[in-house]
């Protein structure tokens, strides 16, 4: 940071490549529409006007996995849907992150039977779990911000 004091108002900042890459990844992360059940309503509410997620960079939700980086699994995953979920996760290009929104995809939620997979972390590796049934839009935004902190702390040694 010493060189900035010499350059004054030239408008130059020095930083590391790692910080720039992480900063750009968090500020423009596009989620994939993966609302399965009731948590999808809260995800839609978080995306819309009152609790805006566009101010965090998630301007739009892409329906296609090829064009998104974040998969917000919102709702319970049944055994019939599980291979589909895995296939869509595999189709997302790197870097990708997963947020398990709600109780049903974190741990099975209220369901403990033959039809619901108890926790989506049996199918895809999850980065952030958001608790709640359903979590309030503010809760989901808190989860997104936690994910941002996690991504800002990633080391370039791990992926480069």
């Amino acid at each position: 940071m010493g060189i900035e004091s010499k350059l004054g108002n030239l408008g130059i900042v020095t930083t590391t490549l790692e910080q720039v890459v992480n900063w750009s990844r968090t500020r423009a992360m596009w989620p994939m529409l993966f609302g399965l059940a009731c948590c999808a309503i809260e995800m839609m509410a978080a995306q819309s006007a009152d609790y805006d997620m566009s101010r965090f960079g998630m301007e739009l939700m892409r329906a296609s996995p090829r064009q998104s980086d974040l998969m917000i699994v919102a709702g319970r995953v049944t055994r019939k849907m599980a291979p589909v979920l895995r296939r869509l996760y595999d189709q997302m290009p790197d870097p990708k992150w997963v947020v398990a929104m709600g109780d049903c995809c974190s741990c099975g939620g209220v369901f403990n039977n033959y039809a619901v997979v108890p926790g989506v972390d049996e199918i895809v590796p999850v980065d952030v779990y958001v608790a709640g049934c359903p979590p309030r839009p503010e809760g989901l935004i808190h989860g997104i911000l936690t994910l941002h902190e996690k991504v800002m702390g990633e080391k370039i040694k791990d992926y480069a």
Partner: protein, 171 residues
């Protein structure tokens, strides 16, 4: 005479011995029939008694009593606005019924659901395959001798042992 009473008398006249009993409970009427006469009964009710809508078609499992399954048909008359229930009892060795698809086309999916959940097959059905569970699932979940399929709850005292057994996803 009310619409329902006329319909029950029509069934008694045409089917005779196949009508096993008629139960009336708080203005709901249910007719218990032989399994061989059910398609005939529904055709009669649809054509001559104005019961043109199959409102519900489900099954009940009474394991370990015999007869094991009870199939419940609820017919509704749209012009007269009354319900009539029909029950059919079948046993577990002979879990087969003629299909209702020719009489009421919406019975297609209802019978697929009964086949998926109880294992009762319907002869003459055009497309009898699983509708709710994955297509290669073994077993019929809503039978009484099907295991509940739950997993042990992970509290703090058994957190580590369940954590070791849980199949987490790899990358």
């Amino acid at each position: 005479m009310s619409v329902v009473e006329k319909a029950v008398n029509l069934l008694r006249d045409r089917l005779g011995e196949d009508v096993q009993e008629v139960i009336t409970f708080r203005d709901q009427t249910t007719v218990v029939l032989e399994s061989s006469a059910i398609v005939n009964a529904c055709t009669l009710l649809r054509d001559h008694a104005e019961f043109d809508f199959l409102a519900a078609l489900t099954a009940v499992d009474y394991w370990p009593e015999e007869p094991r399954f009870k199939i419940v048909y609820q017919l509704y008359s749209l012009p007269q606005k009354v319900f009539l229930g029909l029950n059919v009892f079948i046993s577990s060795e002979d879990a087969e019924l003629p299909t209702m698809e020719t009489v009421f086309p919406n019975a297609n999916w209802h019978e697929r659901e009964i086949f998926d959940m109880f294992g009762i097959s319907f002869e003459g059905h055009s497309d009898l395959r699983r509708i709710i569970m994955p297509h290669d699932w073994q077993g019929h979940p809503l039978r009484k001798d099907y295991p509940l399929g739950y997993e042990e709850v992970q509290f703090t005292f058994n957190f580590d042992e369940i954590d070791r057994r849980k199949p987490y996803a790899k990358e």
